[in-house]
Protein backbone atom coordinates (compact mmCIF):
# COMPACT_ATOMS: atom_id res chain seq x y z
CA UNK A 1 0.00 0.00 0.00
CA UNK A 2 2.97 2.29 0.58
CA UNK A 3 4.74 3.80 -2.40
CA UNK A 4 5.91 0.70 -4.15
CA UNK A 5 7.96 2.45 -6.85
CA UNK A 6 11.16 2.43 -4.86
CA UNK A 7 10.82 -0.91 -3.11
CA UNK A 8 9.63 -3.30 -5.81
CA UNK A 9 11.79 -3.79 -8.91
CA UNK A 10 9.72 -3.28 -12.06
CA UNK A 11 9.42 -5.97 -14.68
CA UNK A 12 10.19 -5.35 -18.36
CA UNK A 13 6.49 -4.97 -19.07
CA UNK A 14 5.99 -2.53 -16.22
CA UNK A 15 9.02 -0.43 -17.15
CA UNK A 16 7.97 -0.14 -20.80
CA UNK A 17 4.24 -0.07 -20.19
CA UNK A 18 3.47 3.02 -22.24
CA UNK A 19 5.73 2.05 -25.13
CA UNK A 20 4.21 -1.43 -25.37
CA UNK A 21 0.68 -0.08 -25.15
CA UNK A 22 1.23 2.58 -27.78
CA UNK A 23 2.99 0.13 -30.09
CA UNK A 24 -0.04 -2.10 -29.75
CA UNK A 25 -2.24 0.80 -30.77
CA UNK A 26 0.04 1.84 -33.63
CA UNK A 27 0.49 -1.63 -35.13
CA UNK A 28 -3.28 -1.94 -35.41
CA UNK A 29 -3.28 1.01 -37.80
CA UNK A 30 0.13 0.71 -39.47
CA UNK A 31 0.73 -1.80 -40.94
CA UNK A 32 -2.28 -4.01 -40.14
CA UNK A 33 -5.07 -1.52 -40.83
CA UNK A 34 -3.43 -0.19 -43.96
CA UNK A 35 -2.98 -3.74 -45.22
CA UNK A 36 -6.63 -4.52 -44.43
CA UNK A 37 -7.78 -1.60 -46.58
CA UNK A 38 -5.58 -2.66 -49.50
CA UNK A 39 -6.57 -6.32 -49.14
CA UNK A 40 -10.33 -5.68 -49.04
CA UNK A 41 -10.27 -3.17 -51.88
CA UNK A 42 -8.29 -5.62 -54.01
CA UNK A 43 -10.61 -8.52 -53.24
CA UNK A 44 -13.78 -6.52 -53.78
CA UNK A 45 -12.60 -6.08 -57.39
CA UNK A 46 -14.17 -9.46 -58.09
CA UNK A 47 -17.45 -7.50 -58.27
CA UNK A 48 -16.43 -4.15 -59.72
CA UNK A 49 -13.34 -5.24 -61.69
CA UNK A 50 -14.95 -4.55 -65.07
CA UNK A 51 -15.41 -0.93 -64.06
CA UNK A 52 -11.82 -0.83 -62.87
CA UNK A 53 -10.59 -2.03 -66.24
CA UNK A 54 -12.18 0.96 -67.97
CA UNK A 55 -12.07 0.62 -71.78
CA UNK A 56 -10.12 -2.64 -71.57
CA UNK A 57 -13.15 -4.42 -70.24
CA UNK A 58 -15.71 -2.96 -72.59
CA UNK A 59 -16.69 -6.26 -74.17
CA UNK A 60 -16.60 -8.28 -70.97
CA UNK A 61 -19.43 -9.22 -68.67
CA UNK A 62 -19.23 -8.03 -65.06
CA UNK A 63 -18.15 -11.54 -64.03
CA UNK A 64 -15.38 -11.80 -66.62
CA UNK A 65 -14.24 -8.28 -65.82
CA UNK A 66 -14.08 -9.14 -62.13
CA UNK A 67 -12.14 -12.35 -62.64
CA UNK A 68 -9.74 -10.72 -65.10
CA UNK A 69 -9.10 -7.63 -63.00
CA UNK A 70 -8.65 -9.67 -59.81
CA UNK A 71 -6.20 -11.97 -61.61
CA UNK A 72 -4.26 -8.95 -62.82
CA UNK A 73 -4.17 -7.51 -59.28
CA UNK A 74 -2.98 -10.79 -57.76
CA UNK A 75 -0.21 -11.14 -60.33
CA UNK A 76 0.80 -7.54 -59.85
CA UNK A 77 1.17 -8.14 -56.11
CA UNK A 78 3.06 -11.38 -56.60
CA UNK A 79 5.30 -10.27 -59.41
CA UNK A 80 5.74 -6.53 -59.16
CA UNK A 81 5.30 -5.29 -55.59
CA UNK A 82 8.83 -4.66 -54.37
CA UNK A 83 10.11 -6.18 -51.13
CA UNK A 84 7.14 -8.51 -50.84
CA UNK A 85 8.97 -10.77 -48.40
CA UNK A 86 9.90 -7.80 -46.23
CA UNK A 87 6.30 -6.61 -46.27
CA UNK A 88 5.14 -10.07 -45.21
CA UNK A 89 7.68 -10.27 -42.38
CA UNK A 90 6.65 -6.84 -41.11
CA UNK A 91 2.98 -7.78 -41.31
CA UNK A 92 3.48 -11.04 -39.49
CA UNK A 93 5.54 -9.40 -36.76
CA UNK A 94 2.95 -6.67 -36.28
CA UNK A 95 0.09 -9.17 -36.30
CA UNK A 96 1.78 -11.42 -33.77
CA UNK A 97 2.55 -8.45 -31.52
CA UNK A 98 -0.90 -6.93 -31.82
CA UNK A 99 -2.75 -10.18 -31.19
CA UNK A 100 -0.60 -11.51 -28.35
CA UNK A 101 -0.56 -8.24 -26.42
CA UNK A 102 -4.17 -7.59 -27.38
CA UNK A 103 -5.15 -10.93 -25.90
CA UNK A 104 -3.25 -10.14 -22.73
CA UNK A 105 -4.75 -6.64 -22.45
CA UNK A 106 -8.26 -7.93 -23.11
CA UNK A 107 -7.88 -10.38 -20.26
CA UNK A 108 -7.34 -7.49 -17.82
CA UNK A 109 -10.96 -6.38 -18.25
CA UNK A 110 -14.28 -7.98 -17.44
CA UNK A 111 -17.19 -7.13 -19.71
CA UNK A 112 -20.43 -5.95 -18.09
CA UNK A 113 -22.87 -5.24 -20.93
CA UNK A 114 -25.63 -7.08 -19.12
CA UNK A 115 -25.66 -4.38 -16.44
CA UNK A 116 -24.59 -1.41 -18.53
CA UNK A 117 -25.96 -1.94 -22.02
CA UNK A 118 -24.63 1.28 -23.49
CA UNK A 119 -23.68 1.35 -27.15
CA UNK A 120 -20.08 2.26 -26.32
CA UNK A 121 -19.91 -0.60 -23.82
CA UNK A 122 -21.16 -3.01 -26.48
CA UNK A 123 -18.40 -1.78 -28.77
CA UNK A 124 -15.87 -2.36 -25.98
CA UNK A 125 -17.10 -5.94 -25.67
CA UNK A 126 -17.33 -6.52 -29.39
CA UNK A 127 -13.82 -5.12 -29.84
CA UNK A 128 -12.51 -7.95 -27.67
CA UNK A 129 -14.70 -10.67 -29.16
CA UNK A 130 -13.78 -9.59 -32.69
CA UNK A 131 -10.12 -9.69 -31.68
CA UNK A 132 -10.34 -13.28 -30.42
CA UNK A 133 -12.37 -14.56 -33.38
CA UNK A 134 -10.47 -12.39 -35.84
CA UNK A 135 -7.05 -13.85 -35.11
CA UNK A 136 -8.41 -17.41 -35.32
CA UNK A 137 -9.96 -16.52 -38.67
CA UNK A 138 -6.74 -14.98 -39.95
CA UNK A 139 -4.86 -18.16 -39.05
CA UNK A 140 -7.53 -20.28 -40.79
CA UNK A 141 -7.57 -17.95 -43.79
CA UNK A 142 -3.82 -18.03 -44.32
CA UNK A 143 -3.47 -21.64 -43.23
CA UNK A 144 -5.93 -22.86 -45.82
CA UNK A 145 -5.09 -20.54 -48.69
CA UNK A 146 -1.34 -20.18 -48.27
CA UNK A 147 0.00 -23.01 -46.16
CA UNK A 148 -2.05 -25.74 -47.77
CA UNK A 149 -4.15 -26.84 -44.81
CA UNK A 150 -6.51 -28.45 -47.29
CA UNK A 151 -7.98 -30.72 -44.62
CA UNK A 152 -9.80 -27.61 -43.38
CA UNK A 153 -11.20 -26.78 -46.81
CA UNK A 154 -14.38 -28.60 -47.80
CA UNK A 155 -13.62 -30.10 -51.20
CA UNK A 156 -9.92 -29.75 -50.50
CA UNK A 157 -9.18 -26.98 -53.00
CA UNK A 158 -5.76 -25.33 -52.92
CA UNK A 159 -5.47 -21.68 -53.77
CA UNK A 160 -3.32 -20.83 -56.75
CA UNK A 161 -2.29 -17.29 -57.48
CA UNK A 162 -2.40 -18.08 -61.19
CA UNK A 163 -6.05 -19.08 -60.95
CA UNK A 164 -6.85 -16.77 -58.11
CA UNK A 165 -10.60 -16.28 -58.44
CA UNK A 166 -11.57 -19.81 -59.48
CA UNK A 167 -9.60 -21.58 -56.75
CA UNK A 168 -10.87 -19.13 -54.14
CA UNK A 169 -14.44 -19.76 -55.29
CA UNK A 170 -13.75 -23.50 -54.97
CA UNK A 171 -12.50 -23.07 -51.41
CA UNK A 172 -15.49 -20.95 -50.39
CA UNK A 173 -18.16 -23.07 -52.08
CA UNK A 174 -16.68 -26.40 -51.06
CA UNK A 175 -16.55 -27.53 -54.68
CA UNK A 176 -17.78 -26.57 -58.13
CA UNK A 177 -21.26 -26.15 -56.69
CA UNK A 178 -22.22 -25.03 -53.22
CA UNK A 179 -22.02 -27.75 -50.58
CA UNK A 180 -23.43 -27.46 -47.08
CA UNK A 181 -19.90 -27.16 -45.71
CA UNK A 182 -19.18 -24.57 -48.38
CA UNK A 183 -22.12 -22.46 -47.24
CA UNK A 184 -20.75 -22.69 -43.71
CA UNK A 185 -17.27 -21.60 -44.84
CA UNK A 186 -18.73 -18.68 -46.83
CA UNK A 187 -20.82 -17.55 -43.87
CA UNK A 188 -17.81 -17.94 -41.59
CA UNK A 189 -15.86 -15.65 -43.93
CA UNK A 190 -18.69 -13.12 -44.04
CA UNK A 191 -19.00 -12.95 -40.26
CA UNK A 192 -15.27 -12.87 -39.61
CA UNK A 193 -14.38 -10.19 -42.14
CA UNK A 194 -17.27 -8.10 -40.77
CA UNK A 195 -15.88 -8.50 -37.27
CA UNK A 196 -12.40 -7.55 -38.42
CA UNK A 197 -13.65 -4.46 -40.24
CA UNK A 198 -15.50 -3.47 -37.08
CA UNK A 199 -12.37 -4.12 -35.03
CA UNK A 200 -10.35 -1.80 -37.25
CA UNK A 201 -12.93 1.01 -37.45
CA UNK A 202 -13.66 0.93 -33.71
CA UNK A 203 -9.97 0.61 -32.90
CA UNK A 204 -9.26 3.67 -34.98
CA UNK A 205 -11.87 5.54 -32.97
CA UNK A 206 -10.47 4.50 -29.57
CA UNK A 207 -6.87 5.07 -30.69
CA UNK A 208 -7.67 8.74 -31.21
CA UNK A 209 -8.65 8.99 -27.53
CA UNK A 210 -5.67 6.95 -26.38
CA UNK A 211 -3.20 9.19 -28.19
CA UNK A 212 -5.13 12.29 -27.17
CA UNK A 213 -6.12 13.42 -30.65
CA UNK A 214 -9.80 13.65 -29.76
CA UNK A 215 -10.54 15.14 -26.36
CA UNK A 216 -13.92 16.88 -26.35
CA UNK A 217 -17.04 14.78 -26.68
CA UNK A 218 -17.93 16.59 -29.90
CA UNK A 219 -14.48 15.82 -31.32
CA UNK A 220 -14.91 12.18 -30.38
CA UNK A 221 -18.30 12.19 -32.05
CA UNK A 222 -16.96 13.79 -35.24
CA UNK A 223 -14.09 11.32 -35.43
CA UNK A 224 -16.68 8.63 -34.76
CA UNK A 225 -18.52 9.60 -37.93
CA UNK A 226 -15.27 9.40 -39.90
CA UNK A 227 -14.49 5.95 -38.48
CA UNK A 228 -18.06 4.77 -39.08
CA UNK A 229 -17.85 6.02 -42.66
CA UNK A 230 -14.56 4.26 -43.24
CA UNK A 231 -15.96 1.16 -41.57
CA UNK A 232 -19.09 1.23 -43.75
CA UNK A 233 -16.98 1.56 -46.90
CA UNK A 234 -14.70 -1.29 -45.86
CA UNK A 235 -17.68 -3.38 -44.83
CA UNK A 236 -19.11 -2.90 -48.31
CA UNK A 237 -15.79 -3.95 -49.84
CA UNK A 238 -15.57 -6.97 -47.52
CA UNK A 239 -19.09 -8.14 -48.29
CA UNK A 240 -18.57 -7.56 -52.03
CA UNK A 241 -15.50 -9.76 -51.90
CA UNK A 242 -17.09 -12.63 -49.98
CA UNK A 243 -20.35 -12.52 -51.93
CA UNK A 244 -18.46 -12.05 -55.20
CA UNK A 245 -16.27 -15.11 -54.70
CA UNK A 246 -18.94 -17.30 -53.13
CA UNK A 247 -21.38 -16.72 -56.00
CA UNK A 248 -18.70 -17.18 -58.65
CA UNK A 249 -18.82 -20.34 -60.73
CA UNK A 250 -15.32 -21.84 -60.50
CA UNK A 251 -15.67 -23.39 -63.96
CA UNK A 252 -16.59 -20.12 -65.58
CA UNK A 253 -13.87 -18.28 -63.67
CA UNK A 254 -11.27 -20.83 -64.79
CA UNK A 255 -12.34 -20.19 -68.34
CA UNK A 256 -11.80 -16.45 -67.96
CA UNK A 257 -8.47 -16.96 -66.23
CA UNK A 258 -7.34 -19.21 -69.04
CA UNK A 259 -8.17 -16.51 -71.54
CA UNK A 260 -6.29 -14.03 -69.41
CA UNK A 261 -3.17 -16.20 -69.33
CA UNK A 262 -3.36 -16.93 -73.03
CA UNK A 263 -3.32 -13.23 -73.66
CA UNK A 264 -0.88 -11.93 -71.02
CA UNK A 265 0.62 -14.80 -69.11
CA UNK A 266 3.56 -16.97 -69.90
CA UNK A 267 2.95 -20.51 -71.17
CA UNK A 268 3.61 -21.87 -67.66
CA UNK A 269 0.27 -20.69 -66.38
CA UNK A 270 -1.63 -22.21 -69.25
CA UNK A 271 0.30 -25.44 -68.78
CA UNK A 272 -0.75 -25.57 -65.15
CA UNK A 273 -4.35 -25.11 -66.12
CA UNK A 274 -3.73 -27.85 -68.69
CA UNK A 275 -5.74 -30.71 -67.26
CA UNK A 276 -9.01 -30.32 -69.05
CA UNK A 277 -10.46 -33.22 -67.08
CA UNK A 278 -11.73 -30.96 -64.30
CA UNK A 279 -12.12 -27.79 -66.29
CA UNK A 280 -14.94 -26.97 -68.65
CA UNK A 281 -14.62 -27.03 -72.42
CA UNK A 282 -12.81 -24.14 -74.00
CA UNK A 283 -14.87 -21.21 -74.99
CA UNK A 284 -14.99 -21.30 -78.81
CA UNK A 285 -14.72 -17.55 -79.06
CA UNK A 286 -11.27 -17.38 -77.42
CA UNK A 287 -9.63 -15.68 -80.36
CA UNK A 288 -12.27 -12.98 -80.43
CA UNK A 289 -11.69 -12.24 -76.76
CA UNK A 290 -7.96 -12.32 -77.23
CA UNK A 291 -8.08 -9.59 -79.83
CA UNK A 292 -10.45 -7.43 -77.84
CA UNK A 293 -8.38 -7.28 -74.66
CA UNK A 294 -5.62 -4.73 -75.00
CA UNK A 295 -2.39 -5.36 -73.14
CA UNK A 296 -2.48 -3.72 -69.73
CA UNK A 297 0.01 -1.08 -68.81
CA UNK A 298 0.98 -0.01 -72.30
Amino acid sequence: MSSAETTKPQSFFEKNHLLLRRLHSLTGIVPIGVFLIAHLVTNSSILWGKVGMRQAGHDMTMVQGGVTYFQKEVQWINEQVPHLLLIEIILWTALAYHSILGFYYARTGRTNVTSYAYQSNWRYTLQRISGYIGILFIIYHIGTLRWGWTFLVPGGATWSHEFAASTLALALRGGEDFTAAGVAVSLFYLICVSLLVFHFANGLWTAAITWGLTISQSAQKRWGYVCAGLGAGLMLAAWSAVVGFATLSPAQARDFEKKYHEKYGGPAAVEKLGKPATGPSMNPSTSAVRESVPVQGQ
Binding site: L18, Y118, N121
Partner: protein
Amino acid sequence: MSSTTPTAPSVAPKPGTRTIRIRVKRCEGPGKPERWEEFTLQVSAGDGTNVIAALQRIAAKPVTVEGKNTIPVAWDSGCLEEVCGACTMVVNGKVRQSCSALMDTIAPNEGDVVTLEPMSKFPVIRDLVVDRSRVFHNLKRVKAWVPVDGTYDLGAGPKESPETQETRYVLSTCMSCGCCLEACPQFTKQENPETWDSAFLGAHAISQARLFNMHGTGKQLEKERLEALAGPGGVDDCGNAQNCVKVCPKRIPLTESIGAMGRAVTIHAVKKLFTLR
Protein backbone atom coordinates in the same frame (compact mmCIF):
# COMPACT_ATOMS: atom_id res chain seq x y z
CA MET B 1 -55.08 -2.89 -3.96
CA SER B 2 -55.73 -6.27 -2.38
CA SER B 3 -53.05 -6.72 0.21
CA THR B 4 -51.57 -10.18 0.25
CA THR B 5 -48.40 -9.17 2.04
CA PRO B 6 -47.69 -11.29 5.07
CA THR B 7 -45.62 -8.63 6.83
CA ALA B 8 -48.13 -5.83 7.13
CA PRO B 9 -51.27 -7.47 8.43
CA SER B 10 -52.27 -4.73 10.86
CA VAL B 11 -52.11 -1.81 8.43
CA ALA B 12 -54.86 -1.73 5.84
CA PRO B 13 -53.60 -0.20 2.60
CA LYS B 14 -54.55 3.44 2.41
CA PRO B 15 -55.80 4.81 -0.87
CA GLY B 16 -52.89 6.00 -2.99
CA THR B 17 -50.46 3.62 -1.35
CA ARG B 18 -48.71 0.75 -2.98
CA THR B 19 -46.73 -2.20 -1.78
CA ILE B 20 -43.24 -2.62 -3.18
CA ARG B 21 -40.61 -5.24 -2.61
CA ILE B 22 -37.05 -4.53 -1.54
CA ARG B 23 -34.54 -7.28 -2.30
CA VAL B 24 -31.26 -6.89 -0.47
CA LYS B 25 -28.03 -8.79 -0.97
CA ARG B 26 -26.91 -9.63 2.54
CA CYS B 27 -23.45 -10.51 3.79
CA GLU B 28 -22.49 -10.64 7.44
CA GLY B 29 -18.86 -9.75 6.94
CA PRO B 30 -15.72 -10.17 4.82
CA GLY B 31 -15.47 -13.71 3.52
CA LYS B 32 -18.95 -14.63 4.75
CA PRO B 33 -21.48 -16.12 2.30
CA GLU B 34 -23.94 -13.89 0.49
CA ARG B 35 -27.69 -14.36 0.57
CA TRP B 36 -30.74 -12.49 -0.67
CA GLU B 37 -33.50 -11.25 1.60
CA GLU B 38 -36.74 -9.67 0.53
CA PHE B 39 -38.87 -7.16 2.39
CA THR B 40 -42.16 -5.46 1.58
CA LEU B 41 -42.83 -1.81 2.12
CA GLN B 42 -45.88 0.41 1.85
CA VAL B 43 -45.17 3.68 0.11
CA SER B 44 -47.40 6.35 -1.34
CA ALA B 45 -46.88 8.58 -4.31
CA GLY B 46 -45.12 11.82 -3.42
CA ASP B 47 -44.03 10.72 0.05
CA GLY B 48 -40.39 11.15 -0.97
CA THR B 49 -39.28 7.72 0.23
CA ASN B 50 -35.77 7.07 -0.99
CA VAL B 51 -33.68 3.93 -0.58
CA ILE B 52 -32.21 5.17 2.71
CA ALA B 53 -35.66 5.91 4.17
CA ALA B 54 -36.82 2.49 3.01
CA LEU B 55 -33.84 0.85 4.74
CA GLN B 56 -34.59 2.82 7.91
CA ARG B 57 -38.17 1.57 7.89
CA ILE B 58 -36.99 -1.97 7.30
CA ALA B 59 -34.50 -1.58 10.17
CA ALA B 60 -37.36 -0.53 12.43
CA LYS B 61 -39.12 -3.80 11.67
CA PRO B 62 -36.68 -6.26 10.10
CA VAL B 63 -39.07 -9.00 9.00
CA THR B 64 -38.64 -10.68 5.61
CA VAL B 65 -41.46 -11.57 3.23
CA GLU B 66 -41.36 -15.08 4.63
CA GLY B 67 -42.18 -13.61 8.04
CA LYS B 68 -38.72 -14.40 9.38
CA ASN B 69 -37.11 -12.00 11.85
CA THR B 70 -33.71 -10.87 10.62
CA ILE B 71 -30.88 -8.50 11.49
CA PRO B 72 -31.36 -4.92 10.21
CA VAL B 73 -29.55 -4.24 6.95
CA ALA B 74 -26.28 -2.32 7.29
CA TRP B 75 -25.73 0.59 4.92
CA ASP B 76 -23.62 3.70 4.70
CA SER B 77 -24.87 7.22 4.14
CA GLY B 78 -23.89 10.77 4.89
CA CYS B 79 -25.11 13.94 3.30
CA LEU B 80 -28.38 12.58 1.85
CA GLU B 81 -28.11 15.11 -0.98
CA GLU B 82 -25.87 13.34 -3.46
CA VAL B 83 -22.64 15.17 -2.72
CA CYS B 84 -20.72 12.86 -0.37
CA GLY B 85 -20.81 9.53 -2.19
CA ALA B 86 -21.05 7.43 0.99
CA CYS B 87 -24.38 5.80 0.12
CA THR B 88 -23.26 4.60 -3.33
CA MET B 89 -24.62 1.12 -4.08
CA VAL B 90 -26.01 -0.93 -6.93
CA VAL B 91 -29.72 -0.14 -7.21
CA ASN B 92 -31.68 -2.27 -9.65
CA GLY B 93 -28.47 -3.43 -11.28
CA LYS B 94 -26.95 0.01 -11.79
CA VAL B 95 -24.58 1.90 -9.56
CA ARG B 96 -25.81 5.20 -8.10
CA GLN B 97 -26.30 7.11 -4.87
CA SER B 98 -29.12 5.49 -2.96
CA CYS B 99 -30.15 8.75 -1.27
CA SER B 100 -31.28 10.21 -4.58
CA ALA B 101 -33.02 6.98 -5.64
CA LEU B 102 -36.67 7.77 -4.98
CA MET B 103 -39.19 4.97 -4.85
CA ASP B 104 -41.61 7.01 -6.98
CA THR B 105 -39.03 6.84 -9.76
CA ILE B 106 -37.51 3.41 -9.33
CA ALA B 107 -40.60 1.51 -8.14
CA PRO B 108 -43.64 3.48 -9.28
CA ASN B 109 -46.11 0.57 -9.47
CA GLU B 110 -47.70 -1.90 -7.10
CA GLY B 111 -45.46 -4.92 -6.63
CA ASP B 112 -42.35 -3.36 -8.17
CA VAL B 113 -39.10 -4.86 -6.97
CA VAL B 114 -36.07 -2.81 -5.94
CA THR B 115 -32.82 -4.75 -5.69
CA LEU B 116 -30.04 -3.38 -3.52
CA GLU B 117 -26.49 -4.72 -3.78
CA PRO B 118 -23.15 -3.47 -2.53
CA MET B 119 -20.68 -2.26 -5.15
CA SER B 120 -18.94 -5.29 -6.59
CA LYS B 121 -15.47 -3.80 -7.10
CA PHE B 122 -14.70 -3.18 -3.44
CA PRO B 123 -14.53 -5.52 -0.45
CA VAL B 124 -17.82 -5.81 1.42
CA ILE B 125 -17.65 -4.90 5.09
CA ARG B 126 -21.24 -5.81 5.78
CA ASP B 127 -24.39 -5.93 3.65
CA LEU B 128 -24.36 -2.73 1.59
CA VAL B 129 -21.28 -1.21 3.21
CA VAL B 130 -18.04 -1.51 1.25
CA ASP B 131 -14.45 -0.46 1.86
CA ARG B 132 -13.61 2.19 -0.72
CA SER B 133 -9.97 2.65 0.38
CA ARG B 134 -8.74 1.84 -3.12
CA VAL B 135 -10.56 4.88 -4.52
CA PHE B 136 -8.44 7.10 -2.30
CA HIS B 137 -5.31 5.03 -2.74
CA ASN B 138 -5.55 5.65 -6.48
CA LEU B 139 -5.89 9.40 -5.89
CA LYS B 140 -2.60 9.16 -3.99
CA ARG B 141 -1.01 7.35 -6.95
CA VAL B 142 -1.59 10.44 -9.11
CA LYS B 143 -0.84 12.88 -6.28
CA ALA B 144 -4.27 14.47 -6.56
CA TRP B 145 -3.51 17.46 -4.36
CA VAL B 146 -1.92 20.89 -4.37
CA PRO B 147 1.55 20.65 -2.80
CA VAL B 148 1.39 23.18 0.03
CA ASP B 149 2.41 22.04 3.47
CA GLY B 150 1.39 25.22 5.28
CA THR B 151 4.68 25.70 7.14
CA TYR B 152 5.25 29.20 5.79
CA ASP B 153 3.38 31.87 3.91
CA LEU B 154 3.64 31.26 0.18
CA GLY B 155 1.89 34.47 -0.70
CA ALA B 156 -0.90 34.79 -3.20
CA GLY B 157 -1.33 31.88 -5.61
CA PRO B 158 -1.18 32.24 -9.37
CA LYS B 159 -4.16 33.78 -11.16
CA GLU B 160 -6.67 31.45 -12.73
CA SER B 161 -8.32 32.37 -16.03
CA PRO B 162 -12.11 32.12 -16.30
CA GLU B 163 -11.71 29.46 -19.01
CA THR B 164 -9.55 27.24 -16.81
CA GLN B 165 -11.89 27.85 -13.94
CA GLU B 166 -14.84 26.76 -16.02
CA THR B 167 -13.15 23.51 -17.02
CA ARG B 168 -11.82 22.85 -13.54
CA TYR B 169 -15.05 23.56 -11.68
CA VAL B 170 -16.94 20.54 -12.94
CA LEU B 171 -13.88 18.33 -12.41
CA SER B 172 -13.70 19.54 -8.81
CA THR B 173 -17.23 18.29 -8.10
CA CYS B 174 -15.97 14.69 -8.02
CA MET B 175 -16.92 13.15 -4.68
CA SER B 176 -14.92 9.91 -5.11
CA CYS B 177 -18.15 7.94 -4.85
CA GLY B 178 -16.89 5.08 -7.03
CA CYS B 179 -19.71 4.97 -9.60
CA CYS B 180 -17.28 5.32 -12.52
CA LEU B 181 -15.21 2.46 -11.12
CA GLU B 182 -18.13 0.15 -10.45
CA ALA B 183 -19.38 0.56 -14.04
CA CYS B 184 -15.93 0.28 -15.64
CA PRO B 185 -15.09 -3.08 -17.25
CA GLN B 186 -11.36 -2.33 -16.92
CA PHE B 187 -11.53 -1.55 -13.20
CA THR B 188 -11.68 -5.00 -11.71
CA LYS B 189 -11.85 -6.13 -8.11
CA GLN B 190 -8.38 -6.61 -6.60
CA GLU B 191 -8.50 -8.93 -3.63
CA ASN B 192 -4.88 -8.28 -2.73
CA PRO B 193 -3.90 -4.64 -2.00
CA GLU B 194 -0.42 -5.43 -3.36
CA THR B 195 -1.82 -5.41 -6.88
CA TRP B 196 -3.51 -2.02 -6.45
CA ASP B 197 -0.46 -0.14 -7.72
CA SER B 198 -0.37 -1.93 -11.06
CA ALA B 199 -4.13 -2.28 -11.62
CA PHE B 200 -6.13 0.32 -13.54
CA LEU B 201 -6.43 3.64 -11.69
CA GLY B 202 -9.93 4.42 -12.83
CA ALA B 203 -11.56 7.44 -14.43
CA HIS B 204 -11.83 9.44 -11.21
CA ALA B 205 -8.06 9.46 -10.63
CA ILE B 206 -7.33 10.36 -14.25
CA SER B 207 -9.81 13.22 -14.05
CA GLN B 208 -8.37 14.44 -10.74
CA ALA B 209 -4.86 14.36 -12.20
CA ARG B 210 -6.18 16.65 -14.93
CA LEU B 211 -7.82 18.92 -12.35
CA PHE B 212 -4.60 19.38 -10.40
CA ASN B 213 -2.40 19.64 -13.48
CA MET B 214 -4.51 22.62 -14.46
CA HIS B 215 -4.05 24.27 -11.08
CA GLY B 216 -1.46 27.06 -10.88
CA THR B 217 0.35 25.54 -7.93
CA GLY B 218 -0.79 21.97 -8.44
CA LYS B 219 1.14 22.04 -11.73
CA GLN B 220 4.37 21.58 -9.79
CA LEU B 221 3.60 17.88 -9.58
CA GLU B 222 2.56 17.60 -13.24
CA LYS B 223 5.45 15.38 -14.31
CA GLU B 224 5.00 13.01 -11.41
CA ARG B 225 1.30 12.68 -12.21
CA LEU B 226 2.04 12.02 -15.87
CA GLU B 227 4.62 9.41 -14.93
CA ALA B 228 2.00 7.62 -12.86
CA LEU B 229 -0.51 7.88 -15.70
CA ALA B 230 2.04 6.50 -18.19
CA GLY B 231 2.85 3.55 -15.95
CA PRO B 232 1.10 0.24 -15.33
CA GLY B 233 -2.59 0.74 -14.65
CA GLY B 234 -2.41 4.26 -16.05
CA VAL B 235 -4.48 6.06 -18.65
CA ASP B 236 -3.56 3.60 -21.42
CA ASP B 237 -5.33 0.80 -19.55
CA CYS B 238 -8.63 2.53 -20.30
CA GLY B 239 -10.68 0.40 -22.71
CA ASN B 240 -12.93 3.26 -23.84
CA ALA B 241 -16.17 1.55 -22.89
CA GLN B 242 -17.15 5.02 -21.64
CA ASN B 243 -19.52 3.70 -18.98
CA CYS B 244 -17.88 6.05 -16.48
CA VAL B 245 -19.23 9.22 -18.04
CA LYS B 246 -22.71 7.73 -18.30
CA VAL B 247 -23.00 6.73 -14.65
CA CYS B 248 -21.24 9.77 -13.14
CA PRO B 249 -23.82 11.47 -10.89
CA LYS B 250 -21.96 14.78 -11.18
CA ARG B 251 -21.87 14.60 -14.99
CA ILE B 252 -18.11 15.08 -14.99
CA PRO B 253 -16.79 14.75 -18.56
CA LEU B 254 -14.58 11.81 -17.54
CA THR B 255 -13.95 10.65 -21.11
CA GLU B 256 -12.69 14.12 -22.00
CA SER B 257 -10.33 13.92 -19.04
CA ILE B 258 -9.11 10.56 -20.32
CA GLY B 259 -8.50 12.06 -23.78
CA ALA B 260 -6.79 15.10 -22.28
CA MET B 261 -4.52 12.98 -20.11
CA GLY B 262 -3.83 10.68 -23.07
CA ARG B 263 -2.61 13.72 -24.97
CA ALA B 264 -0.57 14.97 -22.00
CA VAL B 265 1.06 11.55 -21.62
CA THR B 266 1.82 11.43 -25.37
CA ILE B 267 3.50 14.84 -25.27
CA HIS B 268 5.32 14.01 -22.04
CA ALA B 269 6.65 10.75 -23.52
CA VAL B 270 7.82 12.42 -26.73
CA LYS B 271 9.52 15.20 -24.77
CA LYS B 272 11.20 12.65 -22.55
CA LEU B 273 12.36 10.66 -25.57
CA PHE B 274 14.08 13.71 -27.07
CA THR B 275 15.50 15.12 -23.86
CA LEU B 276 18.98 14.23 -22.69
CA ARG B 277 18.96 13.03 -19.15
